[in-house]
């Protein structure tokens, strides 16, 4: 059979809107039903390590969203050029470059945070969420879709660690963004909970978040 007989009249496909229903799901799904931290249980190590206070957590979130979005975009742009046998190394190269740039910028313009976050910015390279998205999504999808997917997973990670940090800082130090909120509303005699400052506190808060979320969504372990 020659290919000519199969040729179909070219139907001009209508361009998909920038935020079509299908694309909205790329952003919305990781926020709840398919959350990278609470459902896929990825990126836990950094979720424990940087969530003692809100401020470093916020910086970490911004850094992860930046890295995940841009590495998704770049990977998606070069996906057809990347040889299959070295694709993981290429992905690592892209992620590591972006992470190093973020770390250098922090060192130059926010040295205080650079010291607090220390190795954890560098460890975004090994954050399974980033690599997971590149391998599972960006290698097989178009750039814009990949960017949306990056935002979805990035924000999915961000809201969870920010929530954890909120409770840890509030209960562990009595502050929010270093603002003594408990004192200001008149609760002076609240003892700080030392457990919350430790990584154990993060485990507990994270576990509670997962519990609430799974109960609400009716999630069942298969």
């Amino acid at each position: 059979m020659s290919t000519e007989t199969l040729e179909q009249p070219v139907v001009k496909k209508q361009a998909e809107p920038l935020f079509s229903k299908r694309r909205k799901r790329f952003v919305m799904d990781p926020l709840d039903d398919d959350n990278p931290v609470t459902i896929q249980v990825l990126g836990i190590c950094s979720a424990l390590a940087v969530t003692v206070k809100m401020e470093p957590t916020l910086i970490m979130s911004v850094a992860v969203v930046f890295v995940i979005v841009f590495s998704n975009l770049i990977t998606s742009l070069v996906r057809n050029l990347v040889p299959g046998r070295v694709r993981i190394i290429v992905q690592l190269g892209i992620i590591a470059t972006l992470v190093t740039v973020v770390s250098e910028i922090l060192k130059a313009y926010n040295y205080e945070m650079y010291k607090v976050l220390g190795a954890f910015v560098g460890l975004i390279i090994t954050n399974c969420i980033v690599m997971g998205r590149l391998e599972a999504f960006a290698m097989g999808n178009k750039p814009w879709d990949s960017v949306l997917d990056g935002f979805g997973s990035g924000f999915g990670y961000a809201w969870v660690i920010l929530t954890v940090a909120f409770f840890r800082e509030l209960l562990g130090s009595g502050t929010v963004f270093d603002y003594p909120i408990l004192e200001k509303i008149g609760l002076v005699n609240i003892q700080n909970n030392g457990l919350m400052v430790d990584s154990i506190g993060a485990f507990m808060v994270l576990g509670l978040i997962i519990w609430v979320q799974r109960t609400r969504n009716g999630y069942v372990e298969h």
């Binding site: 050029l81 190394i89 470059t97 740039v101 060192k107 010291k115």
Partner: protein, 246 residues
């Protein structure tokens, strides 16, 4: 997608060059700003041994006005040039590198804090200290009054002491406990100050060379004691010399 080996080699070579280019460009562009923020950080730490700094304070301005720095050797003599003959800047002396050398070979920075009302007088001497905590390095600055005996203030930092336990050395609460303690006994022998085991939270229970401990962080406390003893001890010659001058 299966590709030829040549393609893979060329692809990775090009990728390496591009990534290398981006990284060295970033490092070149951000270099000066990084140097500045490290300098600001060092000077903030030095100054916080003698005063409480707010977030909005002009650290560099205060520093330039009130601090005069120099480098001495273990015998207390001022050193102006390093082994290669280049002038030494106290702020740029790498404490970590020096810590790994034998005490006799180290360069010891001294920061003199001028009396704000009379800048010809030295109100405090600030010395850097460095040592090992429980998990990793601890460091800081100790400021002595002009008598070179009484502690005017300290500022400590740490790399990764346990939060809520050893990490408390970086808090004001712990650092204030050192204020007013002395490092020489009545005969003028160097004894340093030591943090004790246990936490009593009652300042009147402690002698002039003792500091209330941190509950649950005895090992960090021991590291702190060793650090103070080693470093202040290394400065003993300098201190003795300048005590006589007065």
């Amino acid at each position: 997608m299966q590709r030829s080996n040549t393609y893979i080699l060329v692809f990775t070579a090009i990728m390496t060059v591009i990534i290398g280019g981006i990284l060295s460009f970033t490092s070149q562009v951000l270099g000066p700003a990084q140097k500045k923020s490290i300098e600001l950080d060092t000077k903030t730490q030095i100054l916080s041994a003698v005063m409480d700094l707010g977030k909005k304070d002009d650290v560099l301005g205060i520093y330039n006005k009130s601090i005069q720095s120099m480098v001495v050797d273990i015998d207390g003599n001022e050193v102006e040039k390093d082994k290669k003959g280049n002038p030494i800047v106290a702020e740029e002396v790498n404490i970590v590198k020096n810590y790994k050398m034998k005490p006799g070979k180290r360069e010891y920075p001294v920061y003199e804090y001028k009396d704000p009302s009379d800048t010809s007088k030295v109100a405090a001497y600030i010395f850097p200290v460095y040592g090992a905590g429980l998990w990793n390095a601890i460091y800081g600055y100790v400021a002595l009054e002009s008598d070179l005996n009484t502690i005017k203030g300290v500022s400590f930092g740490h790399v990764q002491e346990t939060p809520g336990l050893g990490a408390r050395i970086a808090s004001k609460e712990i650092q204030d406990r050192f204020k007013g303690k002395t490092i020489f006994d009545d005969q003028g022998n160097f004894v340093s100050v030591a943090m004790l085991k246990g936490e009593k939270k009652n300042p009147s229970l402690f002698g002039p060379h003792e500091v209330d401990g941190m509950s649950g962080a005895t090992l960090t406390g021991r590291g702190l004691n060793a650090m103070l003893k080693n470093y202040l001890g290394d400065y003993e010659a300098f201190i003795k010399k300048n005590q006589q001058h007065q």
